[in-house]
Amino acid sequence: MDPTKFQVGQRVRVKNLYPPGHIRTCPYVRGKTGVINRYFGRYKNPELLAYGKSGLPLRELYWVEFAVNDLWDHKPGKPQDKLRIEIYEHWLEPA
């Protein structure tokens, strides 16, 4: 398989974009910086599947981990608390 663009342990930022349509990148992580925790493989793109399209090309899917306190100004977590969420590669950029 082709090497992935991001490696486990790498810091990444979720693109802070608000395109219309069916988007799985939750707004609360857009613009936030986290770390690649795991690579899940390649999946059909739900942004296209939602409209009856093929979902191709396949998209790389990563598990990105954030400190809970990096997500919210009110810092609701203990310092060690984390949140992990699945993000497709086209939503990520190196941080």
Partner: protein, 253 residues
């Protein structure tokens, strides 16, 4: 009618008023299929309960769609009933079998973390409806909890249908905005020093939490251990039952 009556008792029923059910949650697939068609004798004679006024907009749409499908002969009521039977045959007991096996069989546990869907198949549990299944182990150092902030993604082939609170806005929002607060709302408080990991199930993966095996269960059979593995412990909003808690539970009939 007397004009002196108070306003705290029921009036007539010709005005709209709110009902007590959970919108979009309490009424599922399991009652819509028994609603009558227009041609049904009961409907014509108005002997069938007027359930329509108890339903919200989307429930009415679902019933209308099902009726069209039946009238066109595309789906029969029996097929719908069967489909619902299949859905409801999925229960947390399946996930509990997986966890109990992993508790007693370290080799199985390794395979479960490597390829969870394949490991479930060893137990005859078909998770093919899931794209990618991830099992996460809760330990004394890390505690995972699962949410789906976008909708209600859930490992249904292993846990059945999600509980109402899992699909409702309060948990979906608070689980990420204030995760420890969300757990406290459910009566669960993980240790302050533990690393809490919230897992938002937003795309292709579904998550099963493997709770910690409770103490005092040495030598227990896999079947008995499975009784300790509750649904909520596999969502990560609680621990598995202790032997004492299991003892205190009413015996299933």
């Amino acid at each position: 009618m007397s004009t002196s009556h108070g306003h705290d008792h029921p009036h007539g029923h010709d005005h709209p008023h709110p009902h007590g059910h959970d919108h979009g949650n309490g009424h599922g697939h399991d009652d819509t299929h028994i609603l009558r068609r227009k041609e049904d004798v009961g409907y014509l004679h108005d002997t069938v309960g007027r359930t329509e006024h108890e339903m919200d907009y989307f429930q009415i749409r679902v019933v209308a769609l099902l009726n069209v499908l039946r009238e066109k002969g595309l789906v029969t009521t029996d097929e719908m009933r069967r489909a619902i039977e299949d859905i409801e045959a999925q229960t947390p007991a399946l996930g509990a079998r997986v966890v109990a096996r992993a508790w007693v069989d370290p080799e199985f546990k390794k395979r479960l973390f490597m390829d969870a869907k394949e490991a479930c198949l060893e137990l005859g549990i078909d998770t093919s409806a899931i794209n990618h299944l991830v099992v996460l182990e809760n330990t004394g150092k890390v505690h995972h909890m699962v949410t789906c902030t976008l909708c209600s993604c859930y490992p249904r082939p292993l846990l059945g249908q999600p509980p109402t609170w899992y699909k409702a806005y309060p948990y979906r929002a608070k689980s990420v905005v204030d995760p420890r607060g969300a757990l406290n709302d459910l009566g669960y408080n993980p240790p302050e020093g533990i690393e809490l990991v919230v897992v938002d199930s937003n795309a292709d993966c579904r998550y099963l939490i493997m709770p910690r095996r409770p103490g005092g269960t040495g030598g227990w059979s896999e079947e008995k251990l499975a009784l300790l593995v509750t649904r909520d412990s596999m969502i990560g909003v609680g621990d598995a039952l202790t032997p004492a808690e299991l003892e205190a539970r009413p015996t299933p009939v």
